[in-house]
Point group: C2
């Protein structure tokens, strides 16, 4: 059964972005520290590269939020940074970008449609919820997330956007799947055992 998986970097004090997000500071003040591990020079068989590669190998589509898209688009050189089609949760209707390519960007206005279309596209492969934190929270609240990999960066940001802050649940037990550590970060991998609705596709 194809899985829906989220992958995101978080500070040890729980922030997935720093405060004061802007074009100049797309991840908020000091937020770029969260992603240093991703851009670090890596040797052969690097644990961090292995985690990213294993996720990219299993996914057939991606859903991201509009904030992540709007802030990221210039950073990404105005190209989809994923090797597969992306659906953006955007309120405004908008034409698809590069619809004939292998990795187009589509825009939809609601999560249900985004999940249905992206899962249909992914087929036997998994769906990645690429962020940001609010979008991941929304998918958890909808009971549509199967797994999450949280990459804990060695920093206390003190302020910003907290991952899980808008999850609407009293308490959610997770099932540890395993972890991978490098000299830079620790990737914590969990399953949501209480997923209360199956894929809609």
């Amino acid at each position: 059964v194809p899985q829906t998986i989220a992958f995101i970097s978080m500070s040890l004090d729980g922030f997935a972005a720093g405060p004061d997000i802007s074009q100049q500071h797309p991840l908020g003040r000091n937020g770029e520290i969260l992603h240093e591990w991703l851009f670090a020079e890596k040797g052969e068989d690097d644990p961090d590269a292995r985690v990213v590669d294993s996720i990219f190998a299993r996914i057939g589509a991606v859903v991201i939020g509009n904030v992540m898209f709007s802030i990221g688009w210039k950073e990404w050189g105005e190209q989809n940074p994923f090797p597969v089609p992306v659906w953006v949760l955007a309120h405004a209707q908008r034409e698809s970008i590069a619809p004939e390519s292998t990795n187009p960007v589509h825009f939809v206005s609601d999560l249900t449609t985004a999940l249905a279309l992206s899962r249909a596209q992914a087929g036997d492969k998994d769906l990645l919820i690429g962020g940001g934190p609010t979008t991941i929270d929304q998918v958890i609240t909808a009971g549509e997330l199967d797994e999450i990999i949280v990459t804990v960066a060695p920093v206390l940001l003190g302020n910003g956007t907290r991952l899980f802050a808008s999850v609407d649940a009293d308490v959610t037990r997770l099932e540890p799947v395993g972890e991978t550590s490098s000299v830079r970060v620790t990737h914590l991998h969990y399953r949501f055992p209480d997923r209360h609705s199956g894929p809609s596709a």
Copy 2:
């Protein structure tokens, strides 16, 4: 050089206690989930037991906050649960408990005195900051913490007392020391490289 180390359990969403702390729910609602790993039946050479044993082996004294003491005292059968002397940060003056024993409980009104007396007691051994979260935050803000081991429990509590919430700093980079995982939890171990004041003893 003796180190000052904190050790505390935290939910994946950053809480070291659940909401509505009371005598009935000493760790807040659902907060006991954070400590299930500690009380779980363990086999030979259990990773969690190894972490606890290694901390207990290196410490010569403990400092805890008054909330932790007040809430914990009955739970602990009115005995110091640590194998070494404890200093409690209490506002009210109070006689020491079991002063002639190997693990008495002392009460002091300020952090500086607590650190000086407990470090003098610990001698060549390390000092443990046993919690709760607010006390650990206070020691971090004072620039007096060298290391922290955060035990991440596989649960989203949604609410409660956030570890690091009251740390007074814009951003604090940590140095990963390593991690230990069991089937239950992951213990993340970090150093504070920017400690701005040495031991006062």
